[in-house]
């Protein structure tokens, strides 16, 4: 049995048309089809099966199905004999079975295999995650433990350093040990951070905060570096920002501190500058924090690598090279943008830009408060200062500005009724000490006692004793309200400028004393003397509102100190004996020597507060 020439022609034409095959190939296919139908040769089945598999295209399969169905119907209609029809039926069934049913079975098997593979993969992945989590937890715990121990080591080393017990070579070795502990602390902090980020434990905690305040905190964090690196000038510039922004202050600070640390690390001399600008956008306020330096800079290749982990580009510098990687991860988590520009030998600028969608206008409660400024010439035209003064005026503060030093001094020496609530000084660095001494003079004469003296924009660390608050840069505007509130609170408790001297030979007792007084009288000035001679010396140069005196000290004991104080011919404040000797004989002797009373050891904060309250009440009554 064989296809007739018409039938062959029919199939060849259909194949050419439907499958876009050349004549010769179509003829070969028809030949193979014929062999399957009449001789049982399975070659065409495998060929077609392969083509269906290779094409993996439902449209092709559909076309093939249509062709086979049409072809079968055509042949079936033309076949007369029953036996031939049956043979035709067998061939076509084989073709359908191989082409479609087998494919379905194969697909099903593949699906099952895929499910098994997925199951295996999932179980492997779960186990891997468990191992990784355990490792991360282990690293986190280990780092935490290390951090705690390192804090203790650093704490003890600092205590030894502060005690000035070591000198010369030993002091040098101690400094090295402190430096090592600080470096290790920083490494452990980095490891903890990266572990938290990788394990998704980094919590974003948003709240309203003051951007300027945040920047000053960052500067405080680097204060030792800023002070010690004398060949680097540190500059800070911020736009006046009288509003609060809603964001994750802690992690933003971490980003900026990393910028600053990096800048100091790679700058030998020149400058490091921290700058903040902002602009209003439709969705909120976009702030840009920039740290630029005049350091060694980076090549374009190093720049590409800067946010990758372990990318320290000077191996002699300390650290794992994780800082900038952590910074990038943090910035991504916060939703901010990082940018870096650098040129070898010129310097680097890192910036972090963030859109604060929620902000809150700051409305200070300064209405009717007198806030006076002394502003030296170079500061008078600064936009920041002008905007701050306008803002305070807008909110009802009575603002007066002295533009020359002699005008300020004249005012301070002659003012009778026009007493400001705050007097803020923005001067040349050398003038602050002079004004500090003037404040002492004024207060000794019980003048300007209720004025808060604020030193702003000192541009360097100055050891001023009588200013009430010190800022190396311009103070954020909310500081004024804070100072006024503090002052009000002090007036209520009568604690303005309370000055306390504690004399005890045990340093811990002094520390605990300071801790207890600071709790309820945060503005009290507490001086500590480690012995009788020191205590008497301090009373010679400064007037105290109250003195607490330990009775049993090596050298000069408390009674002898009291005797000396009486001989000094100064106005003696109330002196309290600070003692654990609560015997009647001691009591008698105490009053005999002219002590005001006894404060027993261990120190009881309630008793201490009663005494301080008594002193402050007496002062207010005066």
């Amino acid at each position: 049995m064989k296809l007739s020439p018409e039938q062959e022609h029919f199939f060849i034409e259909r194949i050419k048309k439907e499958f876009d095959r050349p004549e010769e190939e179509a003829a070969e296919t028809v030949e193979s089809l014929q062999k399957l139908l009449y001789e049982g040769d399975m070659k065409i089945v495998y060929d077609l099966q392969y083509r269906v598999f290779k094409a993996n295209d439902p449209a092709y399969t559909q076309k093939l199905l249509n062709f086979l169905f049409e072809g079968y119907t055509y042949l079936y209609d033309q076949t007369v004999e029953r036996k031939e029809k049956e043979k035709l039926g067998v061939g076509i069934r084989q073709l359908f079975t191989f082409l479609f049913i087998e494919r379905c079975t194969y697909a099903k098997e593949m699906e099952e295999q895929s499910l098994v593979s997925q199951h295996i993969l999932k179980s492997v992945s779960d186990r891997l995650n468990t191992v990784l989590k355990t490792q991360e937890r282990m690293i986190a715990n280990l780092s935490h433990e290390m951090r705690t121990s390192l804090n203790t080591i650093h704490g003890y080393l600092s205590i030894i350093d502060e005690s000035k017990a070591l000198r010369g070579e030993q002091k040098f070795q101690l400094k090295k040990a402190i430096h090592g502990a600080v470096s290790l602390q920083s490494l452990v902090k980095d490891i903890l951070n990266i572990t938290k980020i990788n394990s998704g434990q980094l919590e974003i905690q948003k709240s309203f905060f003051d951007m300027e305040d945040m920047l000053l905190q960052c500067i405080d964090h680097l204060s030792i570096e800023i002070r010690n690196r004398q060949r680097i000038t540190f500059e800070y510039e911020s736009m006046f920002a009288p509003f609060l922004v809603y964001g994750d202050q802690m992690h933003m600070m971490e980003i900026l501190i990393n910028f600053l640390t990096n800048a100091f690390k790679y700058t030998e001399e020149g400058f490091v500058k921290l700058k903040m600008t902002y602009q209003k956008e439709t969705k909120g306020i976009r702030a840009v924090f920039t740290v630029s330096d005049s350091g060694i800079g980076m090549t374009p290749e190093q720049l590409q690598d800067v946010f990758n982990p372990y990318s320290r580009y000077q191996k002699k510098k300390q650290g794992l090279g994780l800082g900038m990687h952590i910074t990038k991860q943090l910035a991504d988590r916060l939703g901010g943008e990082l940018e870096v520009k650098s040129e070898p030998g010129v310097g680097t600028t890192f910036s972090f830009s963030y859109l604060f969608e929620k902000t809150q206008n700051y409305q200070p409660d300064v209405k009717g408060k007198k806030i006076y400024f002394y502003i030296e010439k170079s500061m008078q035209e600064r936009t920041y200062v002008k905007e701050k003064i306008d803002f305070l005026k807008y909110h009802g503060a009575i603002v007066k500005t002295f533009k020359a030093e002699n005008l300020l001094i004249n005012f301070l020496l002659n003012a009778q009724k026009d007493i400001p609530d705050i007097l803020s000084v923005l001067s040349e660095p050398q003038n602050y000490t002079k004004i500090d001494a003037l404040i002492y003079y004024l207060r000794s004469g019980k003048r300007f006692e209720k004025t808060v003296f604020l030193a702003e924009n000192m541009r360097q660390h100055l050891s001023l004793k009588y200013f009430d608050d010190l800022y190396e840069y311009c103070a954020p505007v909310k500081i004024y309200e804070k100072l006024l509130k503090k002052d009000d609170a002090q007036r209520k408790t009568g604690g303005v400028g309370l000055s306390v001297l504690v004399v005890d030979d045990t340093e811990t007792n002094l520390d605990i004393f300071r801790l207890f007084i600071g709790k309820d009288y945060p503005n009290a000035k507490v001086d500590l003397a480690g012995g009788g001679y020191e205590g008497v010396g301090m009373c010679k140069v400064k007037y105290y509102d109250i003195i607490f005196l330990d009775l049993k000290m090596p050298g000069m004991n408390g009674f002898e100190v009291m005797q000396k104080l009486k001989e000094l011919n100064i106005a003696l404040p109330p002196v309290y004996a600070f003692t654990a000797d609560v015997y009647k004989s001691t009591y008698d002797k105490i009053f005999e020597y002219g002590f005001e009373g006894i404060l027993e050891k261990p120190l009881n904060p309630e008793h201490l507060n009663e005494i301080l309250q008594r002193i402050t009440n007496a002062e207010t009554a005066e």
Partner: protein, 100 residues
């Protein structure tokens, strides 16, 4: 000595926390206090090991130690130090020192 230091550290936190201070405020004070305590005990050991220590010197060191222990909240040890100020037997002080 470690026993007394550990015990005092624990008591100091309990004692000072009662006044409403946070752990981080107390940590530096207590750490420094423990160093003072260690020094005071060393000092006492040195004094009582001398051949003929002066009563006044022993009394002074014990008095300082008592005050420090009181301030760090270890009142039992402070009372013991106070009692020892009135003993004539240096061995009693040495035994006390050996006990921790």
């Amino acid at each position: 000595m470690q026993k007394l230091l550990n015990e005092t550290k624990e008591k100091a936190y309990l004692f000072l926390r009662e006044f409403g201070f946070e752990e981080d405020e107390l940590e530096p004070v207590i750490n420094k206090g423990l160093i003072d305590l260690e020094n005071a005990i060393h000092h006492l050991s040195e004094v009582v090991e001398k051949e003929n220590p002066k009563d006044e010197e022993v009394d002074g060191v014990l008095h300082g130690l008592k005050g420090l222990l009181f301030q760090l909240g270890n009142h039992d040890a402070a009372n013991k130090a106070e009692r020892l100020r009135y003993t004539d037997d240096l061995n009693e002080i040495r035994m006390w020192l050996d006990s921790f």
